[in-house]
Amino acid sequence: MENSKTKIVLGVIGADCHAVGNKILNYAFTAAGCEVINLGVLVSQEEFVNAAIETNAKAILVASLYGHGEIDCRGLRDRCQEAGLGDILLYLGGNLVVGKADFTLVKKKFMDMGYDKVYAPGTLPDEVIDDLKNDLSKRGILM
């Protein structure tokens, strides 16, 4: 039987180096009982997928802060499908587009790309932890 803790992959996508939120999310999810595979910043889609496969993670948490989210994030769901990760939970958060924008539209854009949850700038970890617990329990997994 594998390690009892739920594994999640965490990282900041693309050419993005914003590390502070990443470190806090790492800390918060670890404290909440997850095993966090934290890839840090400057993570490619490939690295996300590989890490999830290797560790049998239940969710990938992608952050994009620096504005290039639109270019960096599309296609990740397809890659997951191709890699056999199927409907693995994909969460996305940060400052996803260039500029101050209406979040409803931003959210729709990224949901359409296949992300399960899309979070507004400045979201606090507690909200995400609750959501993850919920989504996992729907899939019969206890966090």
Binding site: C17, L42, G67, H68, E70, I71, V98
Partner: protein, 483 residues
């Protein structure tokens, strides 16, 4: 690559230059002799170094925004708007993040999509892709001195193109544009590559073209203690001076406590002069830059104006030569030009209201200056020791050993054992000293300060306190007190 703090030979430089200019087709546009001629016809009013020196002489604080978009004409329009509607004294050209990682192909995608979408999909100006000709359009059509601002570990090609393009100031450094901006670029590598940039600036200087250089002071922008950023800035200053750079602006990111902020700027210039002098670089002109709060901002624009204005006030009272301005959109996204101009106007209102006021010396400020100086000396002297008298070698070893440590840095070349937290008055102190080579009395000083706060808050100092401090300003406070 044999890293030493030693001026590069002409041979070494020339050999590398060939490679560098081959990294992307636009490299071929660079013609040094012609570029020198080009610089010589740039009017004084558009020369960054001259404007900084004049401001220092006049004792005023200039305002400079950050700004950059994907397309040339939009970028020109943006900068001119910031002069006209914002009253910017100095102009930036913020480079996009793909360029910063030398991913010029992705830049091209960004440029093309921006053209298609009619809005910038890049978070900055992709200068390498636009090439020397594109850059010169900016220099020529913009009304003020322009500086490249980026965050590029390997900024050699970018420097070649922007300087040949007529830029008169270039931000960055081998440490400050690596540790906060990269994950696995070795320090040895980035310092070496930045020696190239500094040498290039030195060669321009030897040809009578004065280019201002500015190490990036704020590092990760998040609770970085002054002595840490001072140590990095001074080392980068020394490395630049060795390569022949003559006009240097050293930076500091606002921590938020007024006394600490003023002490930081006051000690920075004095310390830098002392160390440059000691190293034998006697003809550098030093100026300072104060960055308005660089960490997480409040989302509300009115609150953001409060943070911006307080930054402007601290900049003015500290006597910094220039201030880098934030915008009311900071927490949410790259600002519109209107929001950017608004940030500058709020800033200039405060700068102008305070330009005739000084913050008088007092015991508290003296003490704070003394502690910053003592800490910075501990670090710098240990770096010198580790490098056996060579600051380049010493810097690499110092990061390995955690003798210099930058909180929350993404780079694996930072040890990340030191942790900052605010004291009871909001000054940034150390909650975990890590391996910083501080004397026992300094270590005790920090311990006392953090304990004082913990006592007031009725809790133990812990990582939770650090997290609370990270969020505090964005939630409308400075010290992250428990509820």
């Amino acid at each position: 690559m044999d890293l030493k703090n030693k001026k590069w030979t002409t041979d070494a430089f020339n050999t590398t230059q060939k490679e560098v200019l081959n990294q992307w087709p636009t490299g071929a546009e660079v013609d040094f002799e012609e570029a020198v001629k080009y610089h010589k016809q740039i009017p004084a009013s558009k020369q960054f170094a001259k404007k900084m020196v004049q401001a220092k002489k006049d004792g005023v604080t200039l305002a400079q925004p950050r700004a950059g978009v994907a397309l040339i004409h939009e970028h020109i329009e943006l900068l001119n708007f910031l002069v006209k509607e914002g009253g910017a004294d100095l102009l930036p050209t913020t480079i996009d993040s793909y360029t910063r990682q030398n991913r010029y192909k992705e830049c091209q995608v960004g440029i093309d999509e921006s053209l298609a979408a009619g809005r910038s999909l890049l978070n900055g100006f992709p200068a390498v892709n636009h090439g020397v000709k594109g850059v010169r359009q900016v220099v020529e059509q913009v009304n003020g001195p322009v500086q490249a601002r980026h965050g590029t570990p390997d900024a050699r090609l970018l420097a070649e193109i922007m300087l040949a393009g007529g830029f008169t100031s270039y931000e960055g450094g081998g440490i400050s544009y690596n540790i906060p901006y990269a994950k696995d670029v070795s320090l040895e590598r980035s310092i070496y590559d930045w020696q190239y940039v500094d040498r290039l600036v030195g060669i321009y200087a030897e040809h009578g073209v004065e280019i201002n250089r500015e190490p990036f002071g704020p590092l990760t922008g998040t609770l970085v203690p002054p002595s840490v950023s001072h140590a990095v800035g001074i080392i980068e200053g020394i490395l630049a001076a060795e390569q022949g750079v003559k006009n240097i602006t050293l930076g500091y990111g606002q921590c938020g406590n007024l006394v600490q902020d003023i002490a930081a700027i006051k000690s920075l210039e004095v310390l830098a002069e002392e160390y440059l002098e000691k190293c034998g670089y006697k003809d550098c002109v030093l100026t300072t830059v104060f960055h308005q709060w660089m960490g997480g901002f409040p989302q509300d624009e009115a609150q953001a104006f409060g943070v911006i204005s307080w930054g402007a006030a601290a900049a003015a009272l500290s006597g910094a030569t220039k201030v880098i301005v934030k915008t009311p959109h900071e927490a949410l996204g790259i600002p519109t030009k209107e929001a950017n101009a608004a940030g500058i106007r709020a800033t200039k209102q405060v700068l102008n209201m305070l330009c005739d006021q000084k913050y008088a010396m007092n015991k508290e400020l003296e003490d704070e200056i003394a502690i910053i100086k003592a800490e910075t000396r501990c670090i710098l002297d240990k770096v010198f020791e580790l490098g056996h008298g060579d600051y380049a070698v010493g810097a690499v070893r110092a990061f390995e050993a955690g003798v210099i440590d930058v909180p929350f840095a993404p780079s694996k070349y930072a040890l990340n054992k030191m942790l900052p937290a605010r004291d009871n008055n909001g000054a940034v102190r150390l909650f975990a000293i890590g391996n910083l080579p501080f004397s026992q009395d300094i270590i005790d000083f920090h311990k006392d300060k953090i304990e004082e706060r913990a006592r007031v808050e009725g809790r133990q100092a812990s990582f939770q306190m650090v997290i609370d401090d990270i969020y505090a300003i964005s939630k409308g406070r400075m010290v992250g007190r428990p509820k």
